[in-house]
Symmetry: C7
Subunit: 241 residues, 7 copies
Amino acid sequence: MAFGPAAMGYDRAITIFSPDGDLYQVDYAFQAVKKGWTTLGVKTKNAVVILGEKKQSLLVDIDSVEKIFLIDDHVGCSFAGLASDGRVLIDYARNSSLQHKLIYDEPISIDYLTKLVADVKQMYTQHGGVRPFGVSLIIGGVDKGTPKLFMTEPSGQFMPYLAVAIGENYTTATEFLQKNYKDDLSVEDTITLAINALKATKQPGEKLGPNEIEIGYGAANTGIFRKLTLEERNDILQKLG
Amino acid sequence: MAFGPAAMGYDRAITIFSPDGDLYQVDYAFQAVKKGWTTLGVKTKNAVVILGEKKQSLLVDIDSVEKIFLIDDHVGCSFAGLASDGRVLIDYARNSSLQHKLIYDEPISIDYLTKLVADVKQMYTQHGGVRPFGVSLIIGGVDKGTPKLFMTEPSGQFMPYLAVAIGENYTTATEFLQKNYKDDLSVEDTITLAINALKATKQPGEKLGPNEIEIGYGAANTGIFRKLTLEERNDILQKLG
Amino acid sequence: MAFGPAAMGYDRAITIFSPDGDLYQVDYAFQAVKKGWTTLGVKTKNAVVILGEKKQSLLVDIDSVEKIFLIDDHVGCSFAGLASDGRVLIDYARNSSLQHKLIYDEPISIDYLTKLVADVKQMYTQHGGVRPFGVSLIIGGVDKGTPKLFMTEPSGQFMPYLAVAIGENYTTATEFLQKNYKDDLSVEDTITLAINALKATKQPGEKLGPNEIEIGYGAANTGIFRKLTLEERNDILQKLG
Amino acid sequence: MAFGPAAMGYDRAITIFSPDGDLYQVDYAFQAVKKGWTTLGVKTKNAVVILGEKKQSLLVDIDSVEKIFLIDDHVGCSFAGLASDGRVLIDYARNSSLQHKLIYDEPISIDYLTKLVADVKQMYTQHGGVRPFGVSLIIGGVDKGTPKLFMTEPSGQFMPYLAVAIGENYTTATEFLQKNYKDDLSVEDTITLAINALKATKQPGEKLGPNEIEIGYGAANTGIFRKLTLEERNDILQKLG
Amino acid sequence: MAFGPAAMGYDRAITIFSPDGDLYQVDYAFQAVKKGWTTLGVKTKNAVVILGEKKQSLLVDIDSVEKIFLIDDHVGCSFAGLASDGRVLIDYARNSSLQHKLIYDEPISIDYLTKLVADVKQMYTQHGGVRPFGVSLIIGGVDKGTPKLFMTEPSGQFMPYLAVAIGENYTTATEFLQKNYKDDLSVEDTITLAINALKATKQPGEKLGPNEIEIGYGAANTGIFRKLTLEERNDILQKLG
Amino acid sequence: MAFGPAAMGYDRAITIFSPDGDLYQVDYAFQAVKKGWTTLGVKTKNAVVILGEKKQSLLVDIDSVEKIFLIDDHVGCSFAGLASDGRVLIDYARNSSLQHKLIYDEPISIDYLTKLVADVKQMYTQHGGVRPFGVSLIIGGVDKGTPKLFMTEPSGQFMPYLAVAIGENYTTATEFLQKNYKDDLSVEDTITLAINALKATKQPGEKLGPNEIEIGYGAANTGIFRKLTLEERNDILQKLG
Amino acid sequence: MAFGPAAMGYDRAITIFSPDGDLYQVDYAFQAVKKGWTTLGVKTKNAVVILGEKKQSLLVDIDSVEKIFLIDDHVGCSFAGLASDGRVLIDYARNSSLQHKLIYDEPISIDYLTKLVADVKQMYTQHGGVRPFGVSLIIGGVDKGTPKLFMTEPSGQFMPYLAVAIGENYTTATEFLQKNYKDDLSVEDTITLAINALKATKQPGEKLGPNEIEIGYGAANTGIFRKLTLEERNDILQKLG
């Protein structure tokens, strides 16, 4: 951290505006997101896919680490940033989905679910005595046959995406997706595109093992969001060579 | 950000007065508004129109991004500034409209609706532990056959307007509107005026696609506020060349 | 803002005393009042008049801008300073008047109404976590045949006045009133005095249009406080030339 | 305000002790008292008198300005300092008197009434988030035939007095009272002593008009505290020449 | 106040520990105690005496100033420091005594009463948003035939004493008491010892008038704590010459 | 603590983000963990073992010091860092387990238990007026025949582990575990591995007494988590030589 | 207090972590403990003894000063540090014991009682708006025939001890105890060891009077914790010469 004119205190205490209209605490929270493992989502006509990288670490029981979270039968999510912050929001998403189903007797729409989560984030950027959530979420699923994909930022802002990447290598992955995205891919090809986007962040020749990624996907024709098993991931990675 | 006598702390913590009687946090929130996408409203004898620009961005599913928000059958709104702050106020506006209809069995007047939203904003400029809303709203609709148009600032101040523009290119759009505004335009011509005001902010020859704008309008004779479909926007832009 | 010994922090955070026994935040709030549009009140034996200037601004629907506010049948008010702060106090005044009528079955006295509003202001100068109201109110009306006129400051202090001016040109208007005030004017002459006081703040030859002012008045003989229509304002301004 | 070792922050935020055991915010509040209009009280065997000066100001309806406040039939009060702070305490005193009469069916004693008011003041010097009251009160009346006179400071401290002066010229008025006080004066002479004490603060030859003062008094034999009418004040001032 | 390494902020805001384990706000509150009028207590086998000095001041109705406060039939108290803080604690002591008598049908023990008062003081040294009480109390009385004497400090610490002095001349008075204290004095001699201790703080030849002191005492044989009348005080002072 | 650019205040007051996206208070809490006694956990197919070192200290009744805490029949835990913080979380874990059993009539899963504890930790890193917990917990047990092992950090982050060490010598112990870990060890060999990992942190030849460690283990075949007795620990240490 | 790099603010406001993982306010509170009178506890197979020194001070009624506090029939305690803080915790301990007996109909265990007190201390080190307790407590008693001895620090940490000393001379007393402690002492010898430990802190030849100490002890065979009378203390000191 270099010396310089710096932020002169606009970034302390509670989240307040700087003279430029920025919320520094929100910008800093975004730095925490950039330190997370690379995570990405792809949406085509036939499927939505969420892929999360899991970095191997000696003695960590990596197979038990969860990176893709099922919210409801039709929707899942992943995140990059502070894992403990992410957990709080995923709990909130799950409870919201459950309550919605109980009250209205139909699954929550993914737009509305994303808005609920993002509204909690916004609240933590406008009121004192709290800090923003240091986490970006990718939420994906299938609403009545239509794949949906959203990403929410620490500010509470969210956008619908065709494809999106967050975490440490998000620029490389995003560039790959911008070049290779097509919206008429099959379910399998959508998954392959997601894997290749992550591979693009690796050194040439570097291998990607089946326990280094988690993949969830929702198919337009089934309307179900499920996670690939270790076997399935292995099969796909084998085929990709 | 240059060095200098600066604000010496009058712009920190909670929203307090500077020796000049200014509320710096409110002024800074206004800078956030200036960074938003250009948004504008036009009111004539026959119609009120709200137009919001949607900036294309690779991989963003721009068609799913909403920029004009229906509040009730007769009123809509748009905003410039922090999107997540805007959402909070739109939720509040929708709830207020709904409750009004339930309690009084008639649609909320647009003056009163605007006042309710602006009162929330004011509260966030006078009490500690919160920051002002970093968003300006344009609220427009038809009250018993009369088009209405308001704009609310981060301070909670609001004014009735004939035409108004907010967001990054608001000065250029405002100048265009000042020169070309007439109050006896037809519904179609009112829409055209709004589109041309946005076009005035573009480079000569730059094209404006139908998915780069959202348009909502209320016609005096119907009393209904509705959004133009992609097709309708396309047709109009075609005619305008 | 010049450098110098300055206020050394006595004007921050909550409203506290400086070594000189001043409340700086209250003094600064007064600066906000000085930036408001000129507003004035005149009280004679026969009438009380409140006049508010409305500054023309391109594209603002100035005719829909309200500057004189009816509180009850016998009392009205205007303000200079932060419009959104003023609105909060006017709402409070209206609610207080309504409740008084409901509970005691008689109109609220103007002294008491003014005290209620000023007490709210005082509260915001003595408790933490809030800032003072950046607004001065002129409250006028007729109590059982007697015209009354008060002005409340941001501190919560209020005084009864024969004539009073607030806002940007208050010194010029006050000087004019000091020279020309008489207490045995007719209703019409009281209105004329108010208009001339505002005219005194203009350049010689500068015209004052009927939509650049709003005027409310209470006549001793009727006990009713009402606002002049555009037509009435036009007629008076015509006569005055 | 000169530079120097100064208060080094012991006088900020909430009311806390300085290394010398002083409460600076309370001392500063006392400065606000010194800026108020001169107010004084005199107690003799036969009467208690409270006199408040009212400074003429162009266009202020000085006759409607109240400076002596009746609390109950047997007790009145006046103050110097922040008028809006004074009002809060007078409201409290009136409510306390009323409740006492309702609950115990006898008038509140003046000692106890003073203690109640002073206890509120103390509370505002020991708890955070508030500032002390910037006002000193003179409370006087007749308890079962005995005149009583108290003065309460911003600290919440109060003392019984034979005679006391507060506000801008309190030193001159106090010196006059110290030289001329006698406790066996008639009601009329007690009033005269009070007027002369105020006159002592004027330039030689300077006149004191009947609408420049308000006077309240309680006579031992009646037990009633009442205010002199304008006529009565005029008569007395005439006699004094 | 000299310059120097000073307290570096450990004495601000709320009551917190300095690196030396001191609570500076509590130490500073003790300075306020040292500024109070000299007050002292003496306990012998036969009596407990509390004596408070009352400093004459022109125009103050010194006879009405109370310095010894009866808490219950068997116990009284006095204080040095901020009078308004003292009043709060005396009210608390009186209420506690009354409640104890109502609930348990026997007088409160003086140990327990002192503990209750001191616990309130402690609370104000450990929680934020308040300042310590700037007052030391001497509490004395007779518990079932045994005289008791306690002194509580601003910290909430209290000790049982044979004799104790607080306020501006406490060192001189304490020295006198240390030299002359005996525990087998009669009631009268105990009172005399207390008066002589105060006299020791005066210039040689300086007279002490009966209205310059208040004296309360509890006799072991009666168990009653009462205050000496002006006559009684005069008689005693006469005898002492 | 060296001088330098330092943290410039991002690490004060409440837990807020630094420009790098770090939560300094959470990082500092981690330093407290590093000062704790070495504690470690090992999970194999057949068992999970938690071992805590207890440092001898003269006059401390070391045998009564508890380092391994039973949460429920199937799960235990230990910690490194601030012991009093650890106690709070262990109480919470025990209550959560108990309630789970009462409500659902089956033992709490170890994943869920760990999440509950970690969620409390997260809360203390995002809200004002509190500091993070200065403690890391190792939680281990047997879920339906499967050994489980987790470690939670002060941030609220937690991970499943094959083996993990925390406290002052965690790097040496971790290196030993990385080299020697195998997942097909018997219960006894798992315990031995844990003891050897601690021994690796000692000087060559340094003895480890049976009262210098506490050991808890859960065997896959029994599903019970129990603590070794002093005798059992002695026997094992004897065998190991 | 020397100048130097110092604590740079990590020790202000609320209790937060320093970069080294320390809680400075807790460390400073420990300094307050070091200023208290020497207090010590000894536990053997047959007894637990708590001894508190009482420093003579002129005019203080030292015989009425309590230093050993009975919590319940089987448990007592003493403390070093801020006496008023200690009182709060002793009240809490007594209430907890009483409630336990009422609810469970058996005496509270000393482990659990200590934990309850220490948990209160912990709470005051983790939440804002309070300071830690500036006091260490020694708690001792007999649980079903087994003597127990604990000491709790300002941090909320507590440990079981064979012998422990706190307060100003704790190092000398501790050294003495380390050299002379044996666990098979009789009740009398345990008391003697405690007295000798205190004597070790005195100058050679310095006498220790029976009213300079208080002693409480619990005997394993009776299970009762009681305080020695003045006579008993005198007898023992005589024997010791």
